[in-house]
Amino acid sequence: MLSVKNISKSYVGHKALDNVSLEIKKSSIFGLLGPNGAGKTSLIRVINQIINQDEGDILIDGRNITYEDVRKIGYMPEERGLYKKMKVGDFLLFMGKLKGLNRNQCIESAADWFEMLEVSNWWKKNIEDLSKGMSQKVQFISTVLHSPDLIILDEPFSGFDPINANLVKNNLLRLRDEGKTIIFSTHRMESVDEICDHLAMINNSKKILDGNTEQIKMDSKSNNYMITHNNVLKENKNIFDLVASSKITDNIFESEVTLKKGKKSRDLIVDVSGKNNIISFNQRVPNMNDIFIMKVKEEEKNG
């Protein structure tokens, strides 16, 4: 649905984006991951045409993005705020009208969203009386009020408590299932793999990795296993190397082992369970943070 092709952007003195390309499929959730200052916000601003790229193209369904396309995007920037002296309803009306809705459409859509985000009807409330979490919800509603096909959220979960963050995540999943395309950015990489279908990692204005989330995890999974067991574990050099082992209580031990090449996890279980009761057994799957750090180190070695 959206193609980002070889985008470069420089500000006075530094390069914010260096030849970044992305391919975002319809009806998916795309995560844009990277530390602060990596260029995520610049990329999002370029997609929204708030700033213009120096080089490269933004394509929607294969053609150059137009001002009308941008107007249809639901965009929630990282730097977001509300007019303090307005009522919630007036603000939503204002934002809705800017997106081309009429008064009744705004009111209906807002009522639906109040319900979906599990809040009472805030239409008449003063914005300055809202708490931070409440403001964030109003901002989210103003972003999706016009049911955009493409939703772009810059650091959407900052400012939400875990319960509300979950509520928003569930709503994003629902929107995806309804056919919407969602792009969001975050610097808190460890917590997002469960909702991203695809993701891209950006560091120092360059894309360092992108692809299907599960695929990325599979590709970077190691041959290490975490085993919790009830007796001292004896190393079996034919099957595994013992990386570390620690005694938690008298009859609970935790060990990390590396499986030898050519051996299967079944071989490991069989060997360990001979002298031990296995309490838990996990393959060590790195989270996105680990993958990112790995990837950055790899890049440094290559570059």
């Binding site: 708030i50 204002f94 934002m95």
Partner: protein, 439 residues
């Protein structure tokens, strides 16, 4: 364009609905009449304690007790030293000493008091003494008082402006009663009004842009509105608020003045004759009539139309600059280094206004009323004295061209400024933003 309207609508309605706007709009036109009423009230009723002034009169100029305002002058026979110590005790307010003197060379008339008396009081006493001396002279020279009074003549010269007739017959001319004093007053008033509005509403724009920037709402909005459209909508919205306020004021002032004219029973056409024939007239009435004479002697329609043009022109010109400043800085403190140079022509205009009102036809006056940065205030100051149409036309054209340029210039800074925060802003940075092709 519909976006500009939505921005405009929000900006306008959120301001016009404010209590502070409604109150200031309705009450300000009442402030001047209220001031006048208070002044009249204070002058009319002096319920202060009477102040006693002892009089040592060596010439018997003032034989009886005399009331001047809230002062009583009482002739006494004490020594000056005793009286002076009474003054320091606070028993009496002051001592008026009139020694024996030659009426053709009056000297040694002194007044002693603890505090310095008002100049009005000094003038009043001097006047009374002069009058008494004059009577003494008339007696001594054996002159006929009545014939002398006939020598006093008072002339008041009426001024008329002569203009080409508006009717088709070009040999005819329109002669209108004019008043240089009133032209001065009206010029000053109009110039000052524009000065005030440009400043107040200019800073509203700055504040509004800055609020959007600091409350971080701006990026949400520029994702659906072009920054220049946002700026235009904002400037137009605040401008419309100013326009609404001035419009309500004009309507209110007219209805109040119509009301007072009925109340005072004055027909505005006859006003000038009444002023000429009646010398003794109380102050408030004179003011009301001055007001009418002013309106009878000038082309009020033209002044209002030209006023609104310069009002809007001046507002947009400076409003654009204020918007650009608001977008560039992060807080009000940082704004001041940029608002000062922008304010200089406005403040300068106010200072030049005195010169222009003295000599509205001078070269400097003509130049300053053409120069777009000063013309909104200074052309309005000149206008009531009569300005040739070509000058007015040229000045307005210059102003409109400059307004368009200023809005374009400001827009280029604005588009970058509203999304940039946390960096130190200098003129060099602003210039770079202006030149930036892609942002």
């Amino acid at each position: 364009m519909d976006k500009i309207f939505i921005i405009f609508e929000r900006e306008y309605l959120s301001r016009v609905k404010k209590k502070s706007f409604i109150l200031s709009t309705l009450l300000t036109p009442l402030i001047f009449p209220i001031f006048i009423a208070i002044a009249v009230f204070l002058l009319g009723s002096d319920d202060e304690d009477k102040r006693i002034i002892s009089l040592l009169d060596g010439k018997n100029l003032i034989e009886d007790t005399l009331n001047i305002g809230n002062n009583i002058i009482v002739p006494t026979e004490a020594s000056l030293e005793d009286l002076q110590s009474k003054v320091t005790n606070g028993d009496i307010y002051g001592v008026l000493l009139i020694p024996e003197f030659d009426i053709y060379d009056p000297k040694g008339i002194n007044f002693y008091s603890k505090n310095i008396p008002s100049s009005e009081f000094v003038y009043d006493i001097e006047y009374i003494i002069e009058e008494r001396i004059r009577n003494l002279k008339i007696q001594e020279l054996k002159l006929d008082k009545e014939s002398l009074d006939k020598l006093d003549t008072r002339v008041s010269m009426d001024t008329y402006s002569v203009e080409e007739s508006s009717s088709s017959d070009s040999s005819e001319v329109d002669v209108k009663k004019s008043s240089s004093g009133l032209a001065w007053g009206l010029g000053y008033f109009n110039g000052f009004l524009i000065y005030m509005f440009v400043f107040i509403y200019g800073s509203f724009i700055l504040q509004s842009v800055l609020d959007e920037k600091t409350s971080k709402v701006v990026e949400v909005i520029v994702s659906s509105v072009k920054p220049t459209h946002l700026m235009m909508g904002k400037v137009l919205g605040v401008g419309a608020v100013a326009f609404t306020q001035i419009f309500i004021w004009i309507v209110l002032v007219f209805s109040i003045s119509t009301f007072t004219s009925i109340y005072f029973g004055i027909d505005s056409v006859e006003t000038s004759q009444i002023v000429a024939s009646e010398q003794e007239i109380d102050k408030s009435k004179e003011m009301v009539m001055g007001f009418y004479e002013m309106f009878a002697s000038v082309d009020i329609k033209k002044i209002i139309i030209v006023f609104l043009i310069y009002f809007m022109g001046g507002f947009f010109l400076y409003g654009a600059f204020f918007a650009a400043i608001g977008s560039a800085v992060d807080n009000l403190q940082d704004a001041s280094q940029f608002t000062l140079p922008i304010s200089l022509p406005i403040i300068g205009s106010l200072m030049f206004m005195a010169v222009i009102l003295e000599n509205p036809e001078g070269n400097a006056s003509i130049f300053l009323s053409m120069f777009p940065l000063t013309s909104p205030i200074l052309m309005m100051a000149r206008l009531s004295f009569g300005v040739p149409d070509w000058q007015l036309f040229l000045s307005i054209i210059f102003l409109i061209m400059t307004v368009i340029f200023a809005l374009w210039f400001a827009g280029r800074i604005y588009r970058v400024g509203i999304l940039t925060s946390g960096s130190k802003i200098t003129y060099k940075v602003l210039w770079k933003w202006f030149l930036m092709k892609n942002y």
